[in-house]
Symmetry: D2
Subunit: 388 residues, 4 copies
């Protein structure tokens, strides 16, 4: 998304903002409220927080005469920016029933009106960049909206349908076989004029040895083989922390899978349905991905291998676990102030995922994009690609 024209920026703004509300349109008011686990935020909170970002980093700073909408909102809707002051404890987001959903939508409208005013002005590049950052930030929260809604509904004993016929989980491989990548020096990191996050910058060289990477992602069928051959019971396949995770949580299948009358079902946004064996596997964590690869006698790609191979790969179905830790590229520097808290401070104990998923917002992906989650997390649409 390279938005040098005012019109283009305004269109992007309107389209992104509208899309968040579309994601929420099938919800009942009650669905906007809860935070069933600390890592899942209430939909109401996502809608407000992404709005707060524009108010805090743009309207307050660059729109002359702007009056803060509500002084309490900074406390309520700041996510983790220490530079912007105190905030509601992350684990208490689900207990804040007011402002109501309706009031949050009113807040969005207000900020959108003021942003329109701001975008009509002659903005310098830095301000335009901040708007772009705000839109990409909102797109990230759009994917979280989808996965958090799925978590909230998918853990309700009634398995309510989000949208009849919604098929997010069922997508298929277009290709098969392995692709060879020769040894050599490769360039890694973002290059170009468009938008990217700071963690993609610092384009640099890496040396890769020969490898072969699968053109397809692991399917449900293949994973069921692993399960049926005792994959969840054989400690030799697992990382030590993964083996503890399996045992402490008594895990024996991917998230959202339930065995009903002898047949595997999974909860999808279209409701509970039988597992489609040919569809691409989803909702596994790094521990499961790693154990599966071990069982296959293969391994996960590094994020560099992935980036190099990605030019020739079909992708965009699942966030693909790499076996690279989320660490800074050479020359990474973080911006001063709150915006600098965006990425750098999370560069510890998380693993990089590459690609994009069926829940990723349109145009919100790049082959240099570095997503990251903890090794035990699996409520995103995550999958497995193998290397040998």
């Amino acid at each position: 998304m390279q938005l040098t024209e005012t019109t283009a920026l305004k269109e992007a703004y309107n389209s992104v903002r509208k899309y968040s509300e579309q994601i929420c349109s099938p919800l009942e008011t009650e669905d906007y409220v809860p935070q069933p686990v600390p890592f899942v935020s209430p939909p109401k909170w996502h809608l407000a927080h992404s709005t707060w970002f524009f108010e805090t980093f743009l309207l307050k700073k660059y729109l002359g005469g702007y009056q803060e909408y509500d002084p309490d909102f900074n406390y309520l809707f700041n996510s983790y920016y220490n530079n912007v002051g105190d905030r509601v404890l992350r684990t208490d987001r689900g207990n804040v029933t007011r402002p109501t959903t309706k009031a949050v939508y009113a807040y969005r409208q207000h900020v959108d009106r003021c942003m329109e005013e701001l975008l009509d002005q002659d903005l310098d590049d830095q301000t335009r960049s901040l708007v772009e950052l705000g839109l990409h930030h909102e797109q990230q929260h759009q994917e979280l909206l989808v996965t958090d809604i799925k978590y909230i509904l998918g853990h309700n004993p009634l398995f309510p349908v989000y949208k009849e016929g919604h098929q997010l989980v069922n997508s298929f491989n277009a290709e098969s076989g392995f692709m060879q990548v020769p040894e050599g020096i490769y360039d890694i990191g973002f290059m170009g004029d468009g938008f990217c996050f700071d963690n993609e910058l610092g384009r640099h060289k890496v040396y890769l040895h020969d490898f072969e990477i699968s053109k397809s992602l692991v399917t449900n069928e293949e994973y069921i083989d692993f399960m049926e051959s005792g994959g969840y019971e054989d400690f030799n396949l697992w990382l030590d922390e993964g083996w503890s995770w399996v045992n402490e949580n008594k895990v024996n299948a991917p998230m959202y899978w339930h065995k009903i009358h002898g047949a595997w079902h999974y909860y999808t946004l279209g409701g509970l349905q039988q597992v489609n064996p040919k569809a691409i596997l989803s909702h596994v964590n790094l521990f499961e991905a790693s154990a599966f690869a071990q069982w296959k006698g293969m391994r996960l790609p590094t994020e560099f291998e992935w980036e190099v191979a990605s030019v020739n790969l079909d992708w965009g179905q699942r966030w693909e676990w790499t076996n690279s830790a989320y660490l800074p590229y050479p020359g990474f520097t973080k911006a001063a102030g709150a915006v600098g808290e965006y990425n750098g401070k999370f560069m510890i104990n998380q693993m990089v995922l590459r690609g994009a998923s069926v829940a990723t917002s349109p145009e919100h992906s790049r082959k240099t994009y570095r997503n990251f989650f903890h090794a035990n997390e699996r409520w995103q649409f995550t999958g497995i690609r193998l290397v040998k």
Copy 2:
């Protein structure tokens, strides 16, 4: 409430059921959802659970041809009755967004219609007793509705008003001084034809020694004296577990109290307001009550002293902590089956409170009524009466 006539029983049914919904009428939909701490249940859950009680223990058993409204509701709205099957984990009540509030009201309507049909029939005494139990059960949940709503709104950083002008916290003593009770044998426990819970039965004799009991409850002013003389810092005043509670939670005032610009305020259902020094103290736990009594050189009454004295006392403002543990009376027996789980199984590690509070439903109090909470709990309208 002694309801021998069909009409009276129907009137009682309608009036109690309606009152629950009146309590909730000022709520926004979002307020019905959360469970901020395990001991606070979502208002939506209270409305459904009290309805489930009638469906499970009356309609399913005594209304010919009754069809279960929704088989999932037993799982969702059972509170703690092991005899009635599995249930949602107590701590997960706040994550269940469906059925919606609207659907819960529809469930109430359905059950009310069927109950009307049942109540028109010629019921035997046992069935009538179960209806009465259901109504008393719902009245208990009405008080919890009030205190849980207060908890949800009172822990919101915005301190939203439940109902403008609502003054529940401000009630005053009508009398002062101490009353003498002479040594002797007294009868304790329920006697009469009306309704009572099983834990009040087993009328029996106790021997009491002389005591003097205060005719008034402790006021905010008196408690502020305790606070200002270092009551929360002097370990000699506290029970050992109370002292741990103070330190682990850094407590220095009753629940809902906030010091703002040097003045004590408290959250009330009418919003945040300055503490009224003459009003009766509320929202202290047994640890605080006990430390305050120790500081005064007095003590809390036993539940027997309280019951004997209550004939001549004005009461009904606060649940009054006694220093009696919640244990069975001689001859206590629990009923067979699920109804037997009502009281007996909680008779450990809880303390008895006597009286009633400003949040107690009309007619839901007796001088033999035994309320009980853990020593650290203080979200009920609890107060202190002293004995010397």
Copy 3:
């Protein structure tokens, strides 16, 4: 123990102090160190703490010119006396390897020498009373020494023998049948000139209704019946917190019981041995005692019933669970300063046990003695007596 004569007091002092060391004589140095769970203290700590009591409350105050043995010991060996200053966290006692066991014995010798000097002086009654308190305090720790040693050795996978042939767990009932006690007013609490704890004082009247109390304690055989008839699986028998305790800890037998090749064994201080069916049951907690009584269609006695009946009962085999909470008698007052922390501050959320056990030190029991533990604790030699 009434010790009006200097000689008698000195003899008592020597005998009690020596007995603590006799209890420890079969230990290896390593056994003196660990604290496997917070409620079990290292034997080394017991030896030092009971010595610290004499140094702190007697030598420092009443022996002219006494020099503190080591200023660090107050920090290390204070148990819970807030009035005497800071102390090692209770849960860290097992990590303090120095002073060594040998150094602790040297500390004991030093204090004993100085106490001898003190006891040769002409002491007033209050000082003599404090010495007596110190001796009773040490006797309490002697019983804890026995039970803590049993815990340490009994949780070692090797089940090491404390003393060959030691039979503490196997004691038998001398009588059988039930004894009737008629309704009436009874006097409760300590009376006489001898020693008692402050919690036994405040002799007062209670009114008891008719009851029949068993002359024997429950045996292993009877308890195995309960186990085999599904006692640990039937929630209707259990207090609610007891049922949680069973499930969270997957309990299916008393503490120290192990099923080996189909036969129940238990760890005793004489080593692992087969359960003797005729021996008196030990190592159950209040939850188990209460469930067993429920299963039998009987109940546990109150502490008042127990005290009244005890005149005609054989006892001293097990600490017997009563269904009375540990609360102050009418007129209970606690002493000023540290000695006042001895009992009163624990009067919440604990249950009274009456009697004495095979591990109780000689002469350290009275029919008015009130022992107390939490409902979930069972590492003491605890048993069950029934009432109907």
Copy 4:
């Protein structure tokens, strides 16, 4: 250590085994027992576990007619080898008082005698390699013995001296200034005939960009500057998890530092002493290392930069934190069976440290050696080297 000759292998065996016992020689029996935190093991356990390794992987397999010393020892002294069966819970090691220290020494003697017999035989290369692995394994435990003993004594309120005059913490930089390393392709990983761990294998090429690396390690003086300029209070310097760690643990200095009468002291194996400002900083974790680097406007090296630069660096004072996650080299494969559990399964959520420390056993270091700990751990002799 390349040990092709029988004599050399026997000498190495004797020397390594003796060194473990020398480390423990200043201990009192009590010091061998406790496990104050889960990551610190009792010295007694280290002595037994390293012996168990030889018994399990060598004597039982290769010494004809060997009888297991004690069948319980496998359960007691297995560390984490799932392939070798069940074991004592890691957190319970400190509660196992038997076998005694003396019995553990007897076990060592027995195994040493049998190993001598085995080493006199004509062993094939694989067996010889396993002996070497066992010795390196014991050397790793020797360093842990030193750091665990320091932890046990250093957390005793008495700060007992391990060995008078022991100066482990005070070592100094020999050089200063920065060294330049030019951009290019470098070879990484072990090469040669000697011993190395499997995680060093898979020698491969990496591409490095220009960097300058400090020839000295950060000193106490430099770190005090950081502390005094508010380093522990400025969230902008910290990784997000590091900032949580600081706040939850109220950290304001390296481990073992205490401010006494206004002056910084630290606990050393020679006792408590004033911090030497010129000595090399020790006992900081990755979070602190990273915050310090951020404050300096520099960064930590990657493990590849470190390995390349190490040829020209003086090192061996501290384990130096790198900003590389502990992950497999290309082509890493783990051995089958228990020996394969040595390294690979820990390759998640840990960071690589390079170098060696003053507590590292003689000859137990290589420039390709990959040590690894969690980002929050700091009881090893860890330090900071900066890159710009």
